[in-house]
Amino acid sequence: MSAVLSAPPRVGALFLASPKAMISSAVALILILSALCAPWIAPHDPFALGSFSLMDSELPPVWSEGGDPRFLLGTDTQGRDVLSAILYGMRVSLLVGFAAVAISAAVGTLFGLVAGFRGGWLDAVLMRLADVILSFPTILIALLVSGIARGLLPDTRQEDYAVLVLILAIAINEWTQYARTVRGQTLVEASLDYVKAARLSGLGDGRILARHILPNVLSPVIVIATINLALAVLAEATLSFLGVGMPATQPSLGTLIRIGNENLFSGVWWVVVFPALTLVLLVLSVNLFGDWLRDALNPRSE
């Protein structure tokens, strides 16, 4: 019985067999799509400061008494349509999330591959660096990055760079996970005989890494990336809560929650509850999907 074929799991078939995967990915997809399409589907533009009026402020959702049909989920203290603000805010959150994940995954994978494959001092330096960064919580790293960025950027343009700073802050913290995992996986793969065979076939280090090792270390990267997307969105929310995230003029979900949080006792519950629900739903569905993906891509789990 030793010859269990290590077939790559048929992810597609597993997907169709799992209601958890289908529902969570559907919810995530709907949220992501509606965020992407915000300019076309949102009833109002929450970034256009001149387009909303204080006179419309704090209108409750339509189904409540005093609701206004123009504002499905009500308006915030500025008269901004909550639904539109959520759609646009999700766009900002997802932009930060996806970009941070893309950068950290790319950098982390590269570092992990190189560290695992080359070893030696490069490996030691990269891994110690990862240790230090890993031990410093995202919040501190982000405060650090945004602090340094503030020092380096001209004051007048900081608003424009807020997204960039956030992305960088989160990415700097998260590449370490990829690097560690990929390094470990690379060590395993590099010791396998097919790498030796490739070397005997005349391939150089670069091509061995790109052609042979990279495809074989990608599945954990995909899993981490999915889960980190959720974490990045959450980190963005926390940073915005601490006031070093997105400004009120370009609110992300976190900014909306921070602003709404001030109205927690005021009875204007919809300005905080809807963004918070959206955030939890988004993070939850992505997390669920990531969970499933990890199980599905893990050959041991079946």
């Binding site: 001149g50 204080l54 500025q78 009120a248």
Partner: protein, 524 residues
């Protein structure tokens, strides 16, 4: 081996549920007391708190008029020498008697170069003891605001300072730490019982106080609670008796809740927008001119702001719309200059066209998001209103720690600033800091180039005019010029917003001082 000391802090006991006696006031404020050393800070909340422990020579009464405190009488002997007769029979909390030596030592300690608060008494060059109960203050120049300043100068105990090596103030640079920063010995109505920074500071009534308290508080348990939601929760759950401030947006909820009441009153702090009077705007440095230099543009910007909407929607009706940069209680105020042009976006647009900027322009607006009440929301609303008359607004909102330095470096166009004229409560303060042309000694908060020679003359003259009538006239003239030229766009006086448990009577003084000896607590 260190001997382990096991002691239940009695201060903590005060907080224990049910243990609070009828006269205990449990008070939560947004921030902690910075230091117990009265000369080591410039924050008005800390002054307000320390006023319970320490007292000035002259204090303000319930109407904020001057009344004798540690000094019973004063007279100007020469223009630069003022003689104070001290109250007899006053003792410090540690039992030592109060006399002229204490005043001399205190003044010397305050004007020492290391004292953070030395600017509060910059016109005084020293104090001289005449007798045990008489002391002279020697001035560099005649100072019409001496009493205003002295009302914020707390007197410390010379013997106590000497005994604890605290005669000189602490110095951050050289690392000198003073005993007075976490110990206190004053003459005030309350004594310090214990202090745990950021957690709990307990004061108990000073039975030996020379004055009789108007209220019945015998103990104050003070806790800082930074998070608004937590502070309100603490009041709602009955863990504290009074919270300062209470978020305006929670007023409705607090009103509806059983057993608590929100309190609002206008304060002295005027919120205004600083204007760019420079040759170019930071938002558009390549343009030939700065449209805002034209007074018609400034008027247009003002007229475009719907203050009524901001008052009702954002301030929940709790603000006093302002036309002047000083509040009515401030010396130098004149109703005639406190006139806001009516909200009229059409007129505003017409004014812009008249000035030649009918197509609009781009301008920056900078605001703090954690300094004034609803500062960020107000700025968002104003940015929207300006956008609607064709002025594209580049809005930046950030924490006060970044906002104010940026303002000070002159890197903003329009910016939000609040001015309460504390501790002087006098119109000279904005004249000096906001309106005079910037130089080493004048216009410290006028970074954006507002300059008017007449204003500068008035500032210099008013600083030395001891005739109160003439001086007030000068300040009124300055305020009139400021209004006419729209040097700043005043918005409103923001409210004081507190909330109390039922059975607690407090007075909200316009200077936002907490004076607990006027307050009462009924055991509910």
């Amino acid at each position: 081996m260190t001997r382990t000391r096991l002691a239940l802090t009695s201060a903590a006991l005060a907080l224990a549920a049910g243990a609070a006696s009828a006269e205990t006031l449990r008070w939560a404020n947004a921030g902690d007391v910075l230091t117990l050393d009265p000369y080591a800070h410039t924050e008005s909340f800390t002054s307000s708190f320390l006023h319970h422990i320490y007292e000035p020579l002259v204090r303000r009464d319930a109407e904020l008029k001057f009344e004798p405190a540690l000094a019973t009488a004063w007279e100007v002997v020469e223009p630069t020498r003022v003689r104070f007769t001290l109250r007899e029979g006053v003792v410090f909390h540690d039992g030592s008697a109060f006399n002229a030596d204490d005043v001399v030592a205190s003044i010397a300690r305050l004007i020492h170069p290391d004292a953070r608060a030395r600017g509060n008494l910059s016109s005084v060059s020293g104090a001289e003891k005449v007798s045990d109960t008489v002391v002279d203050l020697v001035l560099k120049a005649p100072d019409p605001l001496l009493l205003n300043k002295l009302s914020g100068v707390f007197i410390m105990d010379a013997e106590w300072l000497a005994a604890n090596g605290a005669t000189q103030p602490g110095n951050t640079t050289t690392g000198v730490v003073t005993y007075a920063s976490d110990h206190a010995n004053g003459t005030g109505p309350f004594k310090l019982e214990s202090r745990q920074p950021d957690a709990l500071t307990v004061l108990v009534a000073n039975q030996a106080w020379w004055d009789a308290p108007a209220g019945n508080i015998t103990r104050i348990a003070f806790t800082p609670i930074g998070s608004d939601a937590t502070r309100v929760s603490a009041l709602l759950s009955g863990e504290v008796d009074v919270i300062t401030p209470a978020p305006l947006q929670d007023a409705q909820r607090l009103e509806a809740a059983d057993g608590v009441t929100p309190l609002q009153n206008p304060s002295l702090r005027t919120i205004m927008l600083g204007m760019p009077h420079t040759d170019t705007l930071n938002a558009d440095p390549d343009a030939d001119a700065n449209p805002v230099q034209d007074v018609r543009v400034r008027e247009a910007l003002w007229r475009a702001i719907d203050m009524d909407a901001i008052k009702t929607k954002i301030m929940r009706g709790n603000a006093r719309i302002a036309g002047s940069i000083i509040a009515p209680q401030i010396a130098g105020y004149e109703a005639g200059t406190d006139v806001k042009p009516a909200y009229d976006p059409d007129a505003a647009q017409a004014l812009l066209e008249e000035a030649g900027f009918g197509d609009g322009f781009t301008m920056g607006l900078d605001c703090p998001n954690d300094r004034y009440i609803n500062d960020e929301e107000i700025c968002l609303a104003i940015a929207g209103m300006w956008t609607r008359i064709g002025v594209a607004v580049d809005l930046t909102t950030q924490t006060k720690g970044n906002h104010f330095p940026k303002v000070d470096r002159g890197e903003t166009d329009a910016y939000m600033i609040g001015w309460a004229t504390l501790p002087a409560m006098d119109g000279f303060s904005p004249l000096n800091a906001l309106l005079a042309t910037r130089s080493d000694d004048w216009g410290g908060n006028n970074p954006n180039g507002y300059s008017n020679p007449r204003m500068d003359e008035l500032a210099v003259a008013a600083s030395m005019e001891v005739d109160e009538t003439k001086r007030i006239a000068m300040i009124r003239e300055a305020m009139a010029i400021a209004r006419e030229e729209i040097a700043y766009i005043p918005l409103h006086q923001q409210p004081l917003s507190w909330a109390v448990r039922d059975g607690v009577q407090v007075i909200q003084f316009p200077d936002n001082y907490f004076r607990a000896w006027h307050y009462t607590v009924n055991g509910s």
